[in-house]
């Protein structure tokens, strides 16, 4: 190697490094001012039956339809693919939008999800999925709320358990109920796409506030339409029963109010 080639090589390498280093600066310089973003919450208030009585884990509840005496020990479910709609028809889409709502985390009756970096604006409706979209059920190992270590994943028939509801029942043949509801393939897909119009109210996102959307969830609805833990103490795989129970549960989600 002559001195000249070394010089040339050094120059070339230097230029390569300089340009690779300066890429980020260029991007920052050419970016427009970042748009205003805000923080918000979705609050899931859990209630029991048409009377909207208190719902708590490890607490005796009587089902208003079947009369069965139930006690939940676990209630966890996925909320995914959250989007907000504004009056102009524009949509804010949360990236990597996968959350687990766990009744263990109830404060009062509510479990709250915190959404950050929401684009500022006035929103008139929200859409989301109860469960996990089919794509993420077939795309290999996932992270965050979709980490299989969250125990919301079937290992032998791979896919996410969208909803877990477990507890005791005086009417069940084995004294308990265990619902592991999932399945992303038709005709028994158990994920439910939801939309709530804010009914004239608006959700105002700005950098300075922490508004919240309040939804009401009524787990008594699992047994809507004649289901009971006596007849159905256990569901632990995809199929018609999982799909029906998940659909019942999804039917209980209603919009209540906005708190700006």
């Amino acid at each position: 190697m002559t001195i000249k080639t070394i010089k040339l090589a050094a120059m070339a390498i230097t230029i390569a490094f300089l340009s690779s280093c300066s890429d980020d600066d260029d991007k920052t310089d050419s970016n427009p001012a970042p748009e205003a973003k805000g923080n918000m919450f979705i609050k899931f208030q859990h209630v029991w039956g048409p009377a909207q009585a208190d719902f708590n884990l490890n607490t005796a509840l009587v089902h208003p339809g079947s009369g069965e005496e139930l006690q939940f020990t676990k209630l966890r479910y996925y909320i995914s693919n959250i989007q907000l709609q504004n009056a102009n028809g524009d949509t804010w889409i949360e990236e990597e939008s996968y959350h687990i709502v766990d009744a263990e985390n109830m404060a009062g009756e509510e479990v709250q999800l915190n959404l950050s970096d929401v684009s500022s604006g006035s929103y008139t409706g929200i859409s989301y999925m109860i469960g996990v979209d089919s794509l993420r059920n077939v795309s290999g190992v996932q992270e965050g709320a979709l980490d299989p270590a969250e125990n919301m994943f079937w290992s032998w028939n791979t896919g996410y358990i969208f909803i877990k509801a477990e507890g005791q029942s005086n009417a069940s043949p084995n004294g308990s109920f265990t619902y592991h509801l999932g399945g992303f393939e038709e005709p028994f897909a158990a994920n439910s796409s939801m939309f709530h119009d804010f009914q004239g109210a608006t959700l105002e996102i700005s950098p300075n506030d922490n508004p919240s959307v309040h939804l009401i969830v009524n787990p008594a609805r699992f047994w809507h339409g004649g289901f009971s833990t006596e007849q159905t103490p256990m569901v632990h795989m995809p199929g018609e029963m999982a799909s029906d129970l998940a659909s019942n549960f999804a039917g209980s989600f209603v919009f209540d109010h906005i708190h700006n």
Binding site: I3, I6, K7, A9, A10, I13, T14, F17, L18, S20, C21, N137, V138, S139, G140, V141, Q142, E143, D147, P148, A149, N151, F153, S155, W156, N157, T158, G159, F188, M237, P238, G239, E240
Partner: protein
């Protein structure tokens, strides 16, 4: 002059470095698509193979600490000397001597496999190890407990850091390391492969067997991997103690159906069938020729069995021997690393 260049480079490298370690980007070639194979199903672009990641996966594969009480490793029931199937036992034995329900398959060409297990219930190579790791009859350890153990009791945090840029061991990186290792195991070194490349001249018996195989078996065991990846009832039982595919699809029309396996290395991976009921290839061919059992979901192609003479069976077995890949058995890249 040289010193100056070196110093300048060091300065530039340092100035570019972030606090977070970048995953390695070194060229490391352990996986190649054989020219006579189709395109693989698994896309390594989402999990690029690196030397560090592959070797981490290899170490994990052979590490008994991935089971409760450090009793068994993946390699315990997937032995390289048997083309990564179990040691000629019908059902494998996991922790505390517990016996599994189905025969352990050989592990090779998994990058071409769309669905795993005898019933196809597992839909992706990355999530495949979760079942054996957590199953009470296999390694019997919860993922969260395993991650906690590996993080706190072992040398692994540093090795995950070198492979993935983070010393915090995640489910994702654990499974990606295992996918790098297992996905890279390619079996393409059999005499049959050599024959396709024009490098091996089969014997007369092997050629007769090949023709018989094409005529009688390739309807299901077709293609370069000798499988159409379908699920079929091959007439083992009238009643099903194991529903097979039907348990996954919840469709009774699939009861008693199991995955059509690749026949590569078939002579090395006995016993055969989902429950390992046949110990020899002779027994398997006798079954197809004379032993088909009628049932509601029996594959239509097997209604009358596949009648074969004794000579024909022998010739087919001679052909099946050409599917053994002895290079795979001795490939040190996939063998248990020295402790």
């Amino acid at each position: 002059m040289r010193i100056t260049v070196a110093l300048a480079l060091v300065a530039l490298l340092v100035s570019c470095q972030n606090d977070e370690r970048e995953p390695p980007t070194s060229e490391f070639s352990v996986f190649e698509v054989p020219a006579h194979f189709p395109d693989p199903v698994y896309d390594f672009d989402g999990n690029p193979i690196t030397e560090e990641g592959f070797n981490l996966g290899r170490k994990l594969f052979y590490d008994k600490r991935l089971s409760r009480g450090s009793q068994v490793s993946c390699g315990s029931c997937h032995a390289q000397v048997h083309a990564f199937a179990d040691h000629a036992v019908p059902l494998s034995v996991g922790v505390d001597g517990r016996e599994g329900k189905r025969n352990s398959p050989g592990l090779y060409n998994l990058a071409w496999t769309e669905a795993f297990m005898w019933d196809g219930g597992i839909n992706h190579i990355e999530v495949m190890p979760i079942a054996p790791i957590t199953d009470s009859a296999e390694m019997d350890i919860a993922l969260a407990d395993l991650l906690d153990y590996l993080q706190n009791e072992t040398e692994y945090p540093q090795e995950f850091g070198e492979a993935f840029g983070s010393t915090e061991i995640s489910t994702s990186n654990l499974l990606k390391a295992l996918a790098q290792f297992q996905g890279a195991i390619v079996s393409d070194g059999s005499r049959y492969d050599q024959y396709i490349k024009g490098l091996y001249i089969p014997t007369e018996a092997q050629l007769r067997g090949m023709a018989l195989f094409e005529a009688n078996c390739s309807g299901c065991h077709g293609g370069i991997l000798q499988t159409d990846f379908s699920y079929r009832n091959n007439g083992l039982d009238a009643d099903f103690t194991d529903l097979g595919r039907g348990r996954v699809t919840q469709n009774s029309a699939d009861n008693g159906k199991f995955r059509v396996p690749s026949l590569r290395n078939v002579a090395l991976t006995n016993p055969y069938m989902h429950d390992g009921r046949f110990f020899t290839l002779e027994q398997v061919l006798d079954h197809y020729s004379e032993g088909i059992v009628e049932s509601g979901t029996l594959d239509p192609a097997l209604t009358n069995g596949i009648p074969l003479t004794e000579n024909e069976k022998e010739d087919i077995i001679e052909f099946l021997y050409t599917l053994s890949d002895f290079e795979l058995l001795g490939d040190l890249r996939f063998s248990e690393p020295a402790k």
